[in-house]
């Protein structure tokens, strides 16, 4: 099989079906046996603002997007204005020929700042401010243009099928765009029809019309554009592969590891996970009656964490899921869970801040906040997943850590992960363990004390409703029974009891779950969370040029695995810290804990996720110029 690596992008106004189109395209490619990595970008808006989806397709395992676009589909002029420049020479732009004469001033959703930059650029190239002006330019750069009258296709189909209603069905532009793309890319149409069937499944009538349109548009493209050099014709079936969306990894993890209560308040990009859990609230249980996840939409995030803690006190595995603004509201209750040693899991889908920030955009800006959230000193765990597949298994681990150490666990996710769609190996529940630590099912004595001192500082845990297990909780300092005390010596003992958890955590959690390292060399990238994907792909690109870069992915961020990280860095001469924030928060942690200076930073805080191309370029830049202390990345519209 030839080396396939193409990037397909579709853009249009929010609500025009960009997501459905990308969904169909991804599924077709995945079913044809390709690896898929897709990512959605959108405004904080319901309808009308620009949204786009980029799907990279390869015959090898891929973990990120690239800068270059091979095939672009534009429903509207804005997509051309914003993205035409990303299409590579030899690539293609499929667009609605009706938009050719549209000027930048006609596109109201094109904001002033972008328009000014674009005009300046078009001025230097001596082009007018229209779609065709810009397209002239990209054509000169070697991009193939494929104007298609989208309405013309609908008219043609209406005539062929003797169904005049079809003429006005512009909602189907999404299927049209995908079908033209697949025809252009020489892909077999079989997968296309199957995927439409799957996606529109229950709505038979709609599925049928869409299939007719797909067939018509596909044939139109193969007849009219037979010579496009990129091809997705060849493929091989891969076994045990699923196409999974960002929020599903943690949701499946919660189902399997026995989370039976989740409270949440709607917030982007976290709420998709809760909605998914509620959509599948009834669970199949092996050899037992059905189970369920009770999902409660609360009045705010304060209530979400309060309910989660209340539920956890009954011995139920309980979680909440939120993003930065919501997590800010949760921090008081987090301390309550800390002082009362209540196991709860907070899935934190980060986005760009501060405050509302860029509410639908990406960022890894809450590492320091997660570590330091809540006043006073108490033990908690901050744990970060690097990709969607990992997030499934990590969710199971987070619940185990939480139960074993009786601490709140903050599971770091982010918008990049949440709005990605990827192929990965079918999730394997048998790899998950359920460890509930010292949770009791029965108490026979009548002298039970919830916070009794013990050798490892962790007390046997009762739960509401358990006979002989009565305890008291309070946000005040308390004695072994849980009653309020202000005694200085008891205070000291209780603080020491709780904080001894930190060393237990570092001792117990397997090293491979704390830090993952690969190919340690003279140069090493350190990072955490979702940068993993683009970093792995960039390292692979560099390897082909015989440049070897190591990668240290830190998953356990609090308590910090100082000795372990130190051992990995022993022979590293140059450390490159890569993070999606402005201040290099992991770098700061390394400095605090190891005293290591970061040699170079690669940072991005435009709200857009990193591509592997950007990381590749910046590492090359650093290798060429050692003085380059910091590279700030800006790719992406």
């Amino acid at each position: 099989m030839a080396n396939v690596d193409i990037s397909w992008q579709i853009g249009g106004p929010q609500g025009s079906g960009v997501e459905t189109a990308a969904n169909i395209f991804s599924r077709v490619c995945a079913r044809a046996g390709y690896q898929v990595f897709g990512k959605r970008e959108f405004y904080s808006n319901i309808k009308g603002e620009h949204s786009y989806f980029t799907v990279r397709v390869s015959d090898k395992k891929i973990h990120s997007n690239v800068n270059d676009v091979t095939v672009m589909v534009a429903f509207d002029a804005e997509t051309i204005f914003r993205h035409a420049n990303e299409v590579v020479s030899g690539g293609a732009i499929i667009y609605d020929s009706d938009i050719e004469n549209i000027e930048t001033k006609d596109v109201h959703t094109l904001d002033t700042y972008f328009k000014a930059r674009l005009h300046k650029y078009l001025d230097t190239k001596k082009k007018n401010y229209t779609v065709s002006g810009f397209l002239d330019l990209v054509k000169e750069n070697g991009v193939n243009l494929y104007p298609v009258s989208f309405r013309g296709i609908l008219d043609g189909l209406a005539k062929d099928t003797n169904n005049p209603k079809l003429k006005g069905m512009i909602r189907m532009f999404n299927v049209l765009g995908v079908s033209i793309s697949l025809g252009l890319l020489h892909m077999s149409s079989k997968q296309l029809f199957e995927s439409i069937e799957l996606i529109f499944g229950k709505k038979q009538k709609i599925a049928e019309i869409n299939k007719q349109l797909a067939n018509y548009a596909y044939n139109y493209a193969t007849a009219k554009f037979p010579n496009f050099k990129h091809s997705l014709a060849e493929s091989s079936k891969q076994s045990d592969t699923i196409l999974i969306q960002g929020h599903q990894g943690t949701a499946f993890g919660k189902m399997v590891c026995g989370c039976r209560f989740q409270a949440y308040y709607p917030i982007t990009p976290a709420s998709d996970e809760s909605v998914f859990l509620e959509s599948h609230e009834i669970l199949e249980i092996n050899e037992d009656r059905p189970g369920s996840t009770v999902v409660i939409q609360t009045e705010d995030e304060i209530s979400a964490i309060g309910m989660t803690i209340g539920s956890a006190l009954t011995g139920t595995r309980s979680a909440t899921s939120t993003s930065g603004p919501g997590f800010s509201l949760m921090s008081e209750a987090l301390g309550w869970a800390g002082i009362n040693e209540v196991p709860v899991v907070i899935t934190l889908y980060q986005r760009s801040g501060p405050s509302t920030g860029l509410p639908t955009r990406h960022g890894q800006e809450d590492l320091m906040f997660a570590i330091n959230a809540g006043h006073g000193e108490f033990p908690k765990i901050v744990y970060a997943s690097g990709d969607i597949e990992e997030s499934f298994y990590d969710t199971g681990k987070c619940f185990n850590f939480s139960d074993i150490f009786q601490v709140p666990v903050i599971h770091m996710m982010d918008k990049f992960l949440a709005s990605s769609v990827v192929t990965c190996k079918r999730l394997d529940s048998t790899k998950l363990k359920i460890e509930r630590g010292k949770l009791l099912d029965k108490i026979d004595t009548n002298d039970y004390k919830r916070f009794a001192h013990s050798e490892d500082g962790i007390s046997p845990r009762s739960k509401l409703g358990l006979e002989n297990g009565i305890f008291w909780n309070t946000g005040d300092e308390s004695d072994e029974s849980g009653h309020i005390t202000e005694d200085p010596i008891v205070r000291l003992q209780m603080m020491d009891k709780r904080l001894s958890r930190f060393s237990q955590i570092l001792k117990y959690i397997p090293k491979e779950d704390q830090v993952v390292s690969s190919g340690i060399a003279e140069y090493a990238v350190v990072s955490w969370g979702s940068t993993k994907g683009p970093i792995l792909d960039a390292i692979e690109m560099l390897k082909k040029e015989n440049i070897h870069i190591g990668f240290i992915q830190i998953k356990l961020l609090h308590p910090f695995p100082t000795d372990l990280v130190k051992s990995f860095l022993k022979n590293v001469k140059t450390i490159i810290d890569i993070e999606a924030n402005a201040t290099g928060q992991l770098g700061l942690l390394l400095k605090q804990n190891l005293g290591s200076e970061i040699d170079h930073y690669v940072l991005k805080y435009t709200g857009r996720a990193m591509t592997c191309t950007e990381i590749y370029d910046s590492i090359k830049k650093i290798l060429a110029n050692k003085e380059q202390k910091k590279v700030i990345l800006t790719h992406g519209a």
Partner: protein
């Protein structure tokens, strides 16, 4: 096993001020639990922050002393996860109607089967007597530097408007009636709210025990003293919604709202509104999760020998490429 009142008492030192109205409320809760013979491990008292927050430590059941304003959130989470528990939430009027007002309203809409008692004294006692949400506009209690500039919340009216399905008022020095109201609240299927008038002898020098009794010293010798408090049940008031008819429901809601406005010379005690026709939250969950009540979150088996037993293979099949 028959439990005695003393079984529900802890030996934790009670540091409330002498004469505090809170004592009557704790006693009434303990009496109600004993009368209903609720096993100690099947009951949990959740409390907020402030003097009333300490309530949970004085009662020998599970006790969860939560955060300021958040008691209802913790209590609802626990009840939803384990519906077998009898749950009483307690807090001050500042806790529930000031910082926690959003949760109060949202809890009403949910109608989770638990009892919420507000210790209503018009002041923030533990922080030295600032004005709380039920203090009337223009009133100046002992430690306020200037008269209160905020209008008061009407707890009964707010509860009725928010969807609470049992709304009542008690008086902390009438422990017997209070015990009966708490018992009725616990027995009620749905969210029960109990507003308990509770004099703060240290900081509220307006709504004192004497004031409620109508025997407060007054400059005007001509005013005849009389008890301000009276019982709704003695006035032939019927708080119960009997049929699922909109007209009757609206009538009962309006009647409760009008009664909630009585204050001053005549202050009603007792049940203002009771509606068991509206499904409590557990029933709403059971409508979509058929075995929720028999197999709620806390009862569910999630593993066998440390291995998960939840089968997601059908969901994964739908993602299979």
């Amino acid at each position: 096993m028959v439990l005695k009142l003393s079984d529900y008492k802890t030996d934790v030192h009670n540091d409330w001020c002498p004469g505090c109205g809170d004592f009557g409320i704790v006693n009434a809760i303990q009496m109600a639990l004993a009368e209903m013979n609720i096993p100690k491990h099947k009951a949990a008292i959740f409390s907020g922050i402030g003097c009333s927050g300490k309530t949970s430590h004085f009662i020998n059941t599970y006790g969860v002393h939560t955060l300021h304003g958040r008691v209802l959130t913790f209590a609802q989470g626990a009840k939803i996860a384990n519906p077998e528990m009898t749950i009483v939430a307690a807090g001050g009027d500042g806790d529930g109607l000031g910082i926690g007002a959003g949760h109060f309203v949202a809890a009403g809409r949910r109608n989770v089967d638990l009892t919420y008692i507000i210790f209503d004294n018009g002041v923030y006692g533990l922080t030295k007597g600032q004005a709380s949400p039920t203090l009337k506009l223009g009133e100046k209690t002992k430690s306020l530097p200037t008269p209160n500039t905020n209008y008061n919340v009407n707890p009964i009216g707010l509860a009725v408007a928010s969807g609470f399905t049992f709304v009542a008022r008690g008086y902390s020095y009438d422990v017997r009636q209070l015990k009966d109201l708490i018992t009725a609240a616990i027995n009620h299927k749905g969210l029960a709210f109990l507003d308990v008038l509770q004099p703060c002898p240290t900081y509220n020098d307006i709504n004192t025990r004497d004031w409620y009794a109508g025997t407060e010293p007054t400059d005007d010798a001509a005013i005849k003293t009389h008890a301000r408090l009276y019982k709704l049940e003695d006035s032939g008031y019927d708080p119960v919604v009997h049929y699922s008819e909109e007209a009757e429901l609206n009538e009962k809601l309006s009647q409760a709202l009008i009664k909630s406005l009585e204050w001053g010379d005549k202050i009603p005690l007792g049940i203002f509104y009771k509606n068991e026709i509206i499904t409590e939250y557990g029933g709403r969950l059971a409508d979509k999760i058929p075995n929720y009540l028999e197999n709620p979150p806390a009862a569910q088996k999630i593993s066998s020998n440390g291995k998960p037993i939840t089968d997601i293979s059908k969901l994964l099949d739908s993602l299979q490429v």
